[in-house]
Every structure is written in C-alpha cells, then in structure tokens.
Assembly symmetry: C2
Homo-oligomer: 185 residues x 2
C-alpha cells in the first residue's frame, strides 16, 4: 500500500510518500517540501501549491492521501493559511478519486511514538527509525508528512486486524451453527 502524507502549510507544505502493509516496517519512497513565497499574493500562492501537489500526487500515484487535520486553536497567525493549504491538499487527492483521510496531530503522534503528546524531536527520531533511514529527514517539515503516511498505513492495519478478527469470529459462529444443525438432524 502506497500512501502520500501531506502536512499542510502555505509557506512550507511537507509531502511524504511511504509504502507498507499494516504491522510491518514501512519503506520510504520520497519526500518533498513545497514552498510558496510569502511576498506573493494569496491567489498565486494557492495556485502554486495546487500545481505542485497535483504533480506529486500524479507522479507517485498513491492509493491513499493522508492530511493533517487543522484546528482553530493552532497558531492564530498562520492558521488561516494552514486551513487553506489543507483544502488544496485534500482536493489534490479527492479530485483524482483517491481516498483521503485526515488525522489529528495527536492521532499521528500516538501512532508513531505511542504518546499523543510526543515532541517534535521524538517524532523525527521515530520516523527515522521506522523507515530505517541513515539520517533524519531534512527539512524537518517532511518528517510530519512521513509520519502521517506511516500513521495511515498502521491505522489501516488496526482497522484491517479488527475486520479480520470480526470475520474470524463470524466464521466460527457460522461453523458452530452448521455443526449444531448437523447435530440436530
């Protein structure tokens, strides 16, 4: 499963592409940081971001896109730009019919480090370890995007394991019913 994670931002937008299956170590495919110039007008910045994200989604053809969910309680100075960038990020996947999932920062931290309140350094260390990289991803903006992609694969794994367990129970129940019917003949 190939997932493209996007850490939305208008000035710096992290993009990380990871391959993996639930419950196994993941593999790094690529990471990028899309930048737009703070001195440019908003329409130009959004258009630049849209063009770059469209190109990356097209190039890496992920099965899913994972985007960080933005909250109003974030940094007030940058939150509007982050929210606008997140719309562009979500659409870059949705427009191609690719499933898009959003995760809160706490969900990502919990998935990667086991703690919903892990700090930036801990996140970077774990992303490096989980992807077996020789050095931490640089710039650090990319680490959050990679963490989102890993989170999506592993959370999918949790869901898949729950689904598999449910299917196993269902099969056992069916088997028991069949045996019961046979026994009652």
């Amino acid at each position: 499963m190939r997932v493209l994670g996007i850490d939305p931002g208008l000035t710096r937008c992290g993009v990380g592409v990871v391959e993996g299956v639930p419950g196994r170590p993941c593999t790094l495919v690529a990471y990028h940081v899309v930048r737009t110039d703070t001195s440019d007008e908003l329409p130009h910045r959004l258009l630049r971001l849209e063009t770059e994200l469209n190109a990356l989604v097209g190039e890496y053809a992920p099965e899913s896109v994972a985007v960080e969910r933005v909250f109003a309680q974030h940094n007030v100075r940058t939150v509007m730009g982050t929210a606008q960038a997140s719309a562009v990020a979500v659409l870059s996947g949705a427009r191609r019919g690719i499933s898009v999932e959003t995760y809160t920062p706490s969900e990502v931290k919990a998935a990667i480090t086991g703690s919903g309140v892990a700090d930036k350094a801990q996140m970077i260390t774990m992303v490096q370890r989980l992807l077996r990289l020789d050095a931490p991803p640089k710039p650090a903006d990319a680490a959050d995007a990679l963490a989102l992609a890993i989170c999506h694969i592993w959370r999918g794994g949790t869901k898949a394991r729950v689904a598999a367990a449910a299917a196993k129970i269902e099969a056992a129940v069916q088997k028991a019913r069949i045996q019961q019917r046979r026994g009652s003949r």
Copy 2:
C-alpha cells in the same frame, strides 16, 4: 465590467454576479448559493464546492473574482471550513487566469453602506437598492456575495478615478513644461 463575488462557506457559499462601471449603478446578472451536506466527509464537500464554483465561473466568465477575506477571529466553530472554502473560491478564479481580489467584511460594508460596521439588514437593503431589485435577494447568503461584487466594481472605480486624476495632473505638468521650453526659446 463583470464581477463574480464569492462569500465563502463550506455549508452555504454565496455567489453573486454583477455588471457595472465605476461610479454608475450596477446590474444584477445572477446569484446562487452552493450548499454542501454537513453529514458528508470533508473531501466530498470540498470537491462538490470546487465543481460548482468552477461551473459558475465558467458559465458567467467574469473579468474579476472578489472573495471575502477570512480572519481567525471569526466564529471559531466554522472558521476552518470558511478558510477552506475561501481557498477553493480563490482557486476557481486563479486557475483560469482571472484576477482575484480579496476584501475584508469592513471594506465591503464601507463600500456599500458608507459604514464599516453596518449590520446584515442594512447590507441587504443597500444591495437591493443599488441593484434596483423588486425584493431583497434570497437567501440572504447571496446578498454578501453581491455586495462583494459591487464593492470590487466601485473600488476599481476609486482606483480608476485616482489613476485618471494622476494622469490629468501628469498631463498638465507635461503641458506646462512644453510651454516653459517654448517660452525659454
């Protein structure tokens, strides 16, 4: 000059199309409200909004798009959706190479009513009067979008008048210089 105003919102997004020239009464072309279902997932809602706004911009082919500028101090519960909708609105024009301008609510109110703190009812009354409509635009969401379009035409008018006055002064200065040169011969 035809302007398409957009009052961004994820649940209800107002769109108003107005024609006019600076300093003259404007003419209503059309207005719409694009709605997305609050029970739908974010990717679906953004995609729906993008599709509808693209269609409207394509249909009305405006020379400019005017979008309300969103601030973090707005209603915190809805501000993230509004910011995301505004990105979709800005891109609906920018993607086609149409000039996109953003205006604060105070700028729009001041342009339409003469007061930056005018209330909703006053805005609706003035939009109806300025466009010489028999009844106020319904739903009211469309009134803000029409006000944005009128504001853009009139502000362009202010800019155009300032530019015209500057050109007049420049011409007078040039004329005076030519006469001075003639006189000094």
